[in-house]
């Protein structure tokens, strides 16, 4: 047997297919029964898989399986990442299988979903893996046939030697190839010759999704598994004091009620170990419904927290964060932000002499913007399966970064990392929240305590009120103009709870001679975190809205005004460290201008708003066409232009942009999580307004700038500028400017 070849018994096949789609196929008897078109279906054919690089497995009868390394939360990496491998491997996409890979950072890379990074960080490694595997198969054939490797060609999973007329499938050489050392520096394909990448492929899990197969962490189960839920304090700034579980324990199906500590005192947190509440009151029982009911019988006394410090060792080094005591309310937070905005702040960037320019200005335009906390509201609430025993731990569920949470689990369970198996389920949304590890750690600790396999389940209310929100933000923008209404200085001063959103080196930095960016923060015990480009979506709302108002004041077309600034930014940029490429930025504006028929007479009937933004290495612009529907402003059409380099799977990329547009409209108009005395005022979808079908545009037309630049992000970049474009369209539609999100608060109150 070759080094990398494993002989799979049926049992181990089940184990490996357990990894596909969150380890759930084991619940089916007769895997072949579910033989749909879907690519992730298990095939019960050959039992011998040879591993040709960590990403590719091939059987002697030429079944080819590609492992997707990265967690899937709806960005469709289950399809796009294997496409990259398939391209270089030279296989027929229709004939390959795709499976979710195991958590193995050594073999499968960083395995992190977030920061619009999946395709960007895997582009090169996956191309190299595919090319290396193809080369290994060619080497095996060359050795077998006794011919030089240079004379071997491949086509769609078959190797050829033209001179001798010999040919053979990848499968027939896979075993031999698997013993060959993985070569480095194999020549990659010319991008122009791609025939899989850049061609739309259907979601490989589409069939499973539409037939309701168990794919998600919530669907995972094992024999003897119990369900656990946590009763968190009902307000930020509170903690558990004592509880009486007498009545809860009398409820049917309830096994145990107890409290445990998440982290010991003085625990040094890793960057994504964020937790909102440390003392966990846990109810464990047979079924979710029983535990949900039994929780209602708990008698709990909560007490206020006192000010304390948390040590967080994140990517930017070790940080001591002060968590204040107190029960916060949104109204007082807004007042506090308004007051802080008047105080001196940290200087983040300065070009020229903005103070003098403002002093000498003929006109000054100043506007202040605010946005509330936003809840992620993933459709699948937080959950995780854990089975912790004395010598190992199995953890299965939805998480964006298994490699980040594993060291923490290792520490708190006192188990070596190689005894911890984290399996990645398909996530029912993530939006940044599932990069944090609180629910994984909680599940592990609960399983350890009850000495049984458990699934921790958050109710919708638990999920929405737990925190880790998109921060609450404000920013004041000022523009100084001379007597001829030329822009001579620009000033942004942004603040937030508990962090500000200012990106000092982004547009319009670099395009104005006198420029000042400042920032400030107010600490809070309400937890915050990643949220589909949290700061960028506020910046794109406020800055792009301000530029629109500024262009209007200057009597300029809003697209032309931005293009003028970008021209300056390209030809004679001000200052250093400007993050964006002025040409590519202008490119998406020009494309959206053309595709939307910006100046066409037939489009005058729409209230049109435009915005553009750069974040996560990509460029996005939208034109939003608003009308009145039932007396309310309604976004009927959207035109989008994106520059993210090479687009791997065009139709799926369009889907992602359309989704970002809908998400942006929804959050701009309706999104917001407010607090009263520390308690969230919205805890379910009856109070937290989500965008729905009747508010979704009829058409979202998506265009990509075509170039051969290595791919950059797409999950986040299209989202932020939607906010600004909606704000600018609202101005046209309602005849006034909107400065405070969610915008519908202002028009529904009056409408």
């Amino acid at each position: 047997m070759e080094n990398n070849t494993t002989n799979h018994s049926r049992r181990s096949f089940l184990k490996s297919s357990l990894l596909a789609g969150g380890g759930l196929m084991i619940h089916f008897s007769g895997l072949a029964k579910f033989n749909f078109d879907g690519k992730t279906t298990g095939v019960n054919g050959s039992e011998e898989w040879s591993e040709v690089t960590g990403y590719i497995k091939i059987t002697p009868d030429n079944l080819i399986k590609i492992l997707n390394p990265n967690p899937e939360f709806g960005q469709n990496v289950m399809t796009s990442l294997p496409m990259i491998i398939a391209e270089e491997l030279d296989v027929d996409w229709q004939k390959i299988m795709v499976e979710m890979g195991p958590h193995n950072n050594l073999k499968l890379g960083p395995q992190f979903t977030g920061g619009s990074n999946s395709v960007r960080m895997y582009w090169k490694p996956l191309r190299e893996a595919g090319a290396a595997a193809r080369n290994m198969l060619m080497q095996a054939a060359a050795q077998t046939w006794g011919v030089p490797i240079e004379e071997i060609t491949t086509k769609a999973g078959t190797l050829y030697h033209e001179k001798s007329g010999k040919s053979g499938t990848y499968g027939s050489f896979a075993s031999k190839a698997s013993a060959i050392a993985i070569p480095k520096g194999v020549k990659l394909k010319d991008i122009k010759s791609f025939n899989t990448v850049r061609n739309s492929k259907k979601n490989v899990e589409g069939v499973k999704i539409v037939t309701g197969k168990p794919l998600f962490g919530m669907d995972y189960k094992q024999d003897g598994m119990l369900v656990a839920m946590i009763e968190h304090p009902h307000a930020f700034g509170m903690k558990l004091k004592s509880f009486d579980a007498t009545d809860t324990l009398k409820m049917p199906g309830i096994k145990d009620v107890f409290s445990i500590k998440m982290f010991e005192d003085n625990y040094e947190q890793a960057g994504f170990d964020t937790r909102t509440f440390n003392d966990l009151l846990v109810v464990v029982g047979n079924t979710t419904w029983q535990v949900m009911n039994a929780r209602k019988k708990l008698k709990v006394t909560w007490e206020p927290i006192s000010e304390h410090k948390e040590t967080i060792a994140g990517f930017r080094g070790k940080n001591e964060v002060t968590i204040p005591a107190g029960l916060e309310s949104s109204t007082t937070q807004l007042a506090k932000m308004a007051q802080m905005a008047k105080q001196p702040a940290k200087q983040l960037r300065k070009d020229g002499d903005p103070e003098t320019a403002f002093k000498n200005a003929a006109h000054i335009l100043e506007r202040t913007y605010t946005a509330p906390f936003l809840a992620h509201n993933c459709m699948e609430p937080m959950n995780f399966f854990a089975h912790v025993t004395d010598d190992k731990a199995l953890l299965v569920g939805p998480h964006q970064a298994p490699g980040w949470i594993e060291p923490t689990v290792s520490k708190i369970l006192n188990l070596p990392a190689d005894k911890i198996d984290i399996q990645m389920a398909r996530m029912g949304g993530g939006f940044g929240l599932r990069a944090y590890g609180h629910y994984v750690i909680e599940a592990a600790l609960i399983s350890k305590k009850v000495k049984a396999p458990i699934k921790l389940v958050y109710s919708r209310e638990d999920d929405m009120t737990y925190g880790i929100y998109r921060p609450m933000y404000t920013a004041t923008y000022r523009a100084a103009l001379d007597a001829n209404k030329n822009l001579i200085a620009f000033h942004v001063k942004g603040g937030g709870i508990p962090e500000n959103a200012v990106h000092p080196n982004r547009f319009p930095a670099g395009t104005v001679d006198n420029y000042l960016a400042e920032g400030w923060e107010i600490p809070s015990n309400i937890t915050i975190g990643a949220f589909r480009a949290p700061g960028s979506n506020f910046n794109a709302a406020s800055e792009q809205s301000f530029l629109d108002e500024l262009a209007e004041f200057m009597g300029k077309d809003p697209i032309d005004f931005r293009l003028e600034l970008l021209k300056r930014g390209k030809e004679n940029p001000v200052g250093k460290n400007n993050e964006y490429d002025a040409d590519r930025y202008a490119g998406v504006l020009k494309l959206v201008k053309e595709k939307s028929g910006w100046n066409a007479a037939e489009n005058k009937k729409y209230s049109r708003g435009v915005a553009a933004y750069f974040c996560h290495n990509s460029y996005a612009a939208h034109v939003v066409d608003m009308v009145k529907k039932d007396g309310q402003p309604y976004v009927e059409r959207v035109f989008s232009a994106l520059d993210c380099g090479v687009v791997i799977n065009p139709d799926a990329a369009i889907n992602m942009v359309q989704g970002a547009v809908v998400d942006g409209i929804g959050n701009a108009l309706y999104g917001g999580l407010t607090h009263k005395d520390g308690a969230a005022e919205q805890n379910n979808f009856n109070r937290y307004r989500m965008i729905r079908m009747k508010e979704a545009p009829k058409k979202i037309e998506v265009h990509f700038v075509e170039n051969d630049i290595d791919p950059t992000g797409l999950g986040e970049p299209p989202f932020p500028p939607v906010f600004g474009a909606v704000a600018n369209a609202l101005h046209k539609n309602m005849g006034k400017r909107f400065y405070n999100q969610p915008f519908s608060k202002d028009f529904t109150a009056k409408g």
Binding site: V207, G212, D219, M379, Q658, M693, P697
Partner: protein, 152 residues
């Protein structure tokens, strides 16, 4: 606890549960049918949609005691081979992103087309507005329903 004989997807299934248990949890936790999803528990998101005598119902608000002889259809029983016109249209338009809400969306759409084979856009919007898609796939859902209506 009480024993119920439920008509689900053309078969009789017996469960022994508390009468107040919502069908959502009966399906998911007692009958191993996880295609019906938990999203909110208060009938505000539609992820748990099933058909009761052919009508779309939020199963999180349907206690098992209220089911009686009514026929329940879940996503697992919507079609034999995943080939209901709505499911096929969903694949054709490659609707899903995360996919969590989609079974509920499909069940609502299938019930709509059963009651109204050729709905207007406004009728689609009204029927579908009880189902939240956090990923924002509404534009494709609408198109898929229109495609399914044509193919019926």
């Amino acid at each position: 606890m009480a024993v119920y004989n439920l008509k689900i997807n053309g078969q009789t299934k017996q469960v022994d549960v508390d009468p107040a248990t919502p069908m959502l949890w009966v399906l998911r936790e007692h009958l191993d049918m996880p295609g019906t999803k938990y999203g909110c528990g208060v009938a505000m998101c539609g992820a748990c949609t099933v058909h009761v005598n052919g009508v779309a119902v939020r199963s999180c608000q349907l206690p098992v005691v209220a089911v009686g002889n009514k026929e329940i259809t879940t996503i697992e029983g919507l079609s034999e081979n995943g080939d209901h016109p709505v499911q096929k249209a969903w694949l054709e338009h490659d609707v899903a992103q995360c996919g969590y809400c989609q079974t509920g969306q499909i069940m609502t759409a299938a019930a709509l087309l059963k009651a109204n084979p050729h709905p207007t856009e406004a009728q689609i919007d009204t029927a579908m507005s009880g189902n939240i898609c956090r990923c924002g796939t509404y534009v494709r859902i609408r198109e898929a329903i229109q495609t399914a209506a044509k193919q019926q």
